[in-house]
Symmetry: C2
DNA sequence: GTATAGTTGACAAAAATTGTATGGTATGTT
DNA sequence: AACATACCATACAATTTTTGTCAACTATAC
């Protein structure tokens, strides 16, 4: 039940982006440095985030990424789901895939289904803005 | 965010065991056949389950495994945690491990911590007995 | 004593994740 | 136009984790 580093990286990077953007595009190079994430790997993640309509890109010098919407309208669950395709606990829910073999009438299926729902609901209950304002509080607290 | 097959196998096997035991030990060979799980793999899982005090073993011919307690006192969360060591979403919670590098003040840590809590709470809210009686209902329904 | 069935540890195969490399395209600046 | 920046895309390599297998051993019922 581990989250991939993809998901961890993506959320951290999105917080970083929000904190440092202020309307201007932020380059991945900056984010990669600040958050200590391999640049090329981050590029892959942001490709997905762009296709997922979570960020917009600006090419050329001075370019970078911008939030596609206000941070209060971006859910952590979206970010995670976008970079970590299946947010379901078991593969039989993947569509196309069959049920698990034999099975004790597969009573367990329901459990995993509900578990997935709980996970998604929780992650969708937190917005990027929640994390950003929390981060700002911490920074303010550390300064004084 | 995938559950290992270890966890899926273990829960299914435990349901199977409960359904077929009725006080008598059930051999892994039976379970492996009914649930289509590699026998040797299942042995490893039941070793962990035994050490986790979830089942008891009876050696020799006619032997097998028994529930260590009544099924109503066995939580699905226990079974999963026993075979799938870390039920935490990120490794920085593993004790001994450091925090994630750099980090946007690691606001995200709290999110993963809460997520882990939710997952554990949910899985601990379901007992093996819940699954077994659900399975019995299905079997009865299928028969008529 | 023999067959059954759990116990254990080492190891191999396979899959998934994580990270790297390379070559592109768009665009602002000089 | 040339050049530098920074996104875009794909392929591939390294690593780690998961999954499965093998072999040897111990206890016990018959
Ligand atoms: S069919 Fe989904 S877990 Fe068995
Ligand atoms: S320290 Fe735990 S996620 Fe960053």
């Amino acid at each position: 039940m581990r989250l991939s580093t993809r998901a961890q990286y993506a959320v951290r990077a999105m917080v970083d982006l929000s904190l440092h953007s202020e309307g201007r595009p932020v380059s991945l190079r900056e984010i990669a440095q600040r958050e200590d994430i391999p640049l090329n790997y981050l590029e892959q993640l942001f490709n997905r985030l762009r296709r997922g309509n979570i960020v917009e890109s600006v090419r050329g010098p001075g370019g970078g990424y911008l939030l596609a919407r206000e941070s209060a309208a971006i859910l952590v669950g979206e970010i995670v789901a976008t970079v970590e395709e299946p947010l379901t606990p078991v593969s039989c829910m993947d569509k196309g895939k069959g049920r698990c073999t034999r099975t004790a009438a597969c009573t367990t299926h329901t459990v995993w289904e509900m578990l997935g729902e709980r996970i998604r609901n929780f992650l969708d209950s937190i917005t990027l803005e929640d994390l950003v304002s929390e981060a700002r509080r911490r920074i303010a607290g550390a300064e004084q």
